[in-house]
Chain length 209, copies 2
């Protein structure tokens, strides 16, 4: 299809498609003349991925380029490809911790093996240190509970990865990892509201300030 | 204690403590002279909360002020106080959705009752619409799985809320809601890495690009 049809079918304005081409996010089409190129289904799928990363995903152009480079990397194994895509995603929160010993000890308790330099490991370490600094050091029981919930979700997330093609698998992992995060956090807050209503009904328990 | 001791015990420089006083984040101490004031344990606890919100929590000064106003609000019930603190927290992700019908339908399926204007409801709606736009509309089974995990965590989170005093309860809810979010997301990503390694071992299944 021509660029005008690509724009129409993707719902992305032609000028924006050209911008993605210039920025190297969208691969060039097949040249069919001096000023014309032909685009295919892969371009449509790529456009959808770009829109998801830049829009709801909240990624910068530079970060999107890094994620797409991982998507395009001709990795030697599916696990390596998924790891590269994962590693290119933005951090789940601000800082990373320099001291990973505690975080590694928890992972060892759970029998989890992860990439040595996984950004998520530093983020986990930073998050538990932040809780301690705030006066609420997380107990093993609390972290076990969160690890159990995360582990159940993750095993099913990974079981759902399609294996028809590497491109499909990596695209799925990028979208699924990134866009289900706000789902999970929003649902936790909503469930907390429901649980709070049940535990502390109006007119119930009085509590001193 | 004097401001110098408050600074020493909290690990926050005197100049920063004065900045929080000027910004109205930290309540004034009890005046003991023209230029001296006395501070108590509540000031120490408040400083720890301010540091958690501005630092690992990543909140702006303005947002921190709003959360603290909710913490200080003399609410009529614990549930209302927790709801106010919750509602003042920053969004779990970028946008909010104008159409909440789908999101409400899912909550009804789960029997969850939440605040009518809960920001988390709009964020949940936006997140499922973003997945659909990216070409991965979430199935009921997928959302049920995430709701089940979020519900288990939330029920225990709320069961852990201390009820000795309203101030303690609200402080706990603010810290626990906000600072366990990066824990949950980091653990999901780490568990995904472990699950990917198990499902796609090196030298295992070949996959076409």
């Amino acid at each position: 299809m021509r660029i005008s049809e690509l724009a129409r079918r993707s719902g992305v304005p032609v000028a924006t498609v050209k911008y993605y081409l210039r920025e190297g996010l969208l691969p060039a089409g097949e040249l069919t003349g001096a000023t014309q190129a032909r685009y295919g289904k892969e371009h449509l799928a790529r456009l959808r991925l770009i829109r998801a990363l830049l829009g709801p995903g909240g990624l910068s152009i530079a970060r999107t380029r890094a994620v797409l480079a991982a998507v395009d990397d001709p990795a030697t194994s599916l696990h390596a490809a998924l790891g590269a895509a994962h590693g290119a995603l933005p951090a789940v929160s601000g800082g990373a911790a320099p001291d990973l010993a505690d975080a590694r000890a928890h992972l060892a308790r759970w029998g989890w093996q992860v990439h040595e330099h996984s950004p998520a490991l530093g983020q986990f370490a930073a998050a538990i240190q932040a809780l301690a600094a705030a006066g609420y050091p997380p107990s093993d029981a609390l972290l076990d509970r969160y690890a159990d919930a995360a582990g159940r979700l993750a095993r099913q997330d990974v079981a759902d990865v399609p294996t028809q093609s590497l491109a499909d698998a990596v695209r799925f992992v990028v979208i699924n990892t990134l866009l289900l995060e706000p789902v999970l956090l929003a649902l936790r807050r909503l469930a907390q509201q429901d649980a709070s209503r049940r535990r502390f009904p109006a007119g119930g328990q009085a509590i001193p300030r």
